[in-house]
């Protein structure tokens, strides 16, 4: 799946997606991150042909977005799952299966995959939010798709449901299938995704593996006096950078050298109370990249 200069404008003032270049490789689980209103859902809708781009182009499984031949190989859950309220979950999937031109027996298989077979005959309007979400994923799985597009699939799920969904997504993405996962749950993305793209105000601001995004390795030091510790540490061999942040000293250095650095600080009369590898979480990276907007 590839986009080049994909842009969506609403009128002259609002640019929901701005010149987005995105490439998702076959077989990978790609996390699509961004704060609310960053343009994630608009991008996914453009990839499905539901929204027409203002400019730029996109190819999905070699087809233009929305082409029936492409859609036949894509399973999607975009935003909240929407089904006919007066039909049962199973009948809703039967309708979708007919639209998708897939055999009827896939309905039962899809229901089993999301563990909804026990409530399959209940009306959709009686489903809890979590059950609706699982039915949405089941509908996305009906076609046994090559590309699975999931927009916030764990919305409304309880902790067990979220864990199950994570396991399911990991399983679904373990083979040849490509998964494009949009989520604001960073822990979820961190655990599941091979690569991550971060969007802010419609633009891709970072892309890479989770490890790449976390950036350079470092050490966190609690010591007194702090300013003196910072001055000494900055001059030690193997320390690229030393900065004081929130009452701690952060060093850009190989964590393997922590014993050596500790010894030198102590021998210089610095009292070290804590020294440990400092690893930026994806959340910290995300907040840095998106300017601490609401996730």
């Amino acid at each position: 799946m590839e986009t080049r200069g994909l842009t969506k404008r609403y009128g002259r003032r609002i640019t929901a997606v701005d010149n987005l270049d995105l490439a998702v490789r076959r077989g990978e689980v790609y996390g699509f991150l961004g704060p609310n209103g960053a343009g994630k859902t608009t991008t996914l809708r453009m990839l499905l042909g539901l929204i027409r781009p203002s400019s730029g182009r996109a190819r999905v499984l070699g087809e233009r977005p929305g082409a029936p031949d492409g859609l036949a190989r894509i399973g999607a859950l975009v935003e909240s799952p929407a089904f006919y309220p007066y039909l049962s979950g199973k009948d809703n999937l039967r309708v979708m299966a007919r639209y998708a031109d897939v055999p009827w027996w896939r309905v039962d298989e899809a229901l089993m995959e999301v563990e909804l077979q026990g409530r399959a005959k209940d009306k959709f309007r009686k489903y809890s939010l979590g059950m609706k979400q699982r039915l949405g994923v089941a509908a996305a799985l009906l076609k046994d798709p090559e590309l699975l597009i999931l927009d916030e699939p764990t919305n409304g799920l309880d902790p067990k449901g979220m864990a199950d969904m994570r396991a399911l997504i990991r399983e679904l993405g373990s083979g040849e299938r490509t998964v494009l996962l949009s989520s604001h749950l960073l822990g979820e993305v961190e655990q599941i995704c091979d690569r991550v793209g971060v969007v802010r105000k419609g633009r891709l601001v970072a892309e890479g593996t989770v490890a790449e995004l976390r950036g350079r390795e470092g050490l966190l030091v609690r010591a007194e006096p702090l300013e003196e510790a910072s001055y000494i540490a900055a001059r030690l061999e193997g320390v690229e950078e030393a900065t004081v942040v929130d009452g701690t000293l952060r060093l850009v250095a190989d964590p393997e050298r922590s014993a050596e650095i500790n010894a030198k600080l102590v021998s210089a009369g610095i009292r070290v109370s804590e020294l440990r590898p400092a690893e930026q979480s994806l959340e910290e990276v995300f907040l840095e990249l998106t300017g601490r907007e609401t996730v």
């Binding site: 809708r45 006919y84 979708m96």
Partner: protein
């Protein structure tokens, strides 16, 4: 009661009875306003067929599966059309059954309209319902929902059309406007089967000839379908 008044009453009763017999099946059916009310019902069904998908948000679910937008549109129109044709068939059958029962009860002759005339009646009824149904469909796509589509559609059908038909305004321009309305053309086509009411009963003469009404109504139906197709094809599904 004076004998001439009694004679008038008897003649009137006989005319009314004749209007209920099988030979007057079509004039009775079309003249009784079944397709006027049916038009409003067709409008509601048309709006529901298209607008419900917007209301439930299921349009994105459907379009994400496989069918193209025009495929979905044609499928829905085909289903709506089939439903309305069944409605016409049901109305004709019910009217035929009723008139047959009246003829039997009154021991009158059972003379049916010709097969060609029955087909013409079926076609006219279908055209009237299809044009109103497609109006409801197009309004629902335009407003992305059922409520406004049904509200505005019925306001037009029941209020605007009646006001236009009864306003005491004369002049070529206003007459041309009236001749272009759905209601006037529906009336023109319906009245081509005759009136079930006795002569001089005060029923207004339609402004539009039936042949012209067929053309105008067909053009409206095609126009509404094209409008719905264009909107569905061009607009974003959000």
């Amino acid at each position: 009661m004076p004998p001439e008044v009694r004679a008038q009453e008897e003649a009137f009763a006989e005319q009314q009875l004749n209007a209920l017999l099988p030979e007057s099946l079509l004039s009775n059916l079309f003249g009784s306003g079944v397709f006027g009310i049916g038009g409003a019902i067709a409008l509601i069904f048309g709006a529901l067929a298209a607008g419900s998908e917007y209301g439930w948000g299921t349009l994105k679910s459907v379009l994400s599966q496989r069918p193209g937008r025009l495929g979905v549109l044609l499928g829905k129109l085909a289903a709506l059309g089939l439903f309305l044709l069944l409605f016409v068939l049901l109305a004709l059958s019910a009217a035929a059954l009723g008139s047959f029962a009246v003829a039997r009860l009154e021991e009158a002759a059972v003379d049916w309209p010709s097969v060609g005339e029955l087909f013409r009646g079926f076609g006219a009824g279908a055209l009237i319902l299809l044009v109103w149904g497609s109006l409801g469909f197009a309004l629902a796509v335009l407003f992305r929902g059922t409520a406004l589509a049904i509200g505005l559609g019925l306001a037009y059908a029941l209020a605007v059309e009646n006001i236009l038909a009864t306003l005491p305004i004369e002049g070529d321009t206003f007459e041309r406007i009236r001749k272009a309305t759905l209601g006037e053309n529906t009336l023109g086509l319906s009245n081509s089967f005759g009136s079930p009411f006795p002569e001089g009963f005060g029923v207004p003469e339609p402004l539009v000839e039936p042949e012209r009404a067929v053309l105008v109504l067909s053009a409206y139906a095609v126009g509404f379908v094209l409008l719905a197709a264009l909107l569905l094809w061009r607009r974003d599904v959000t």
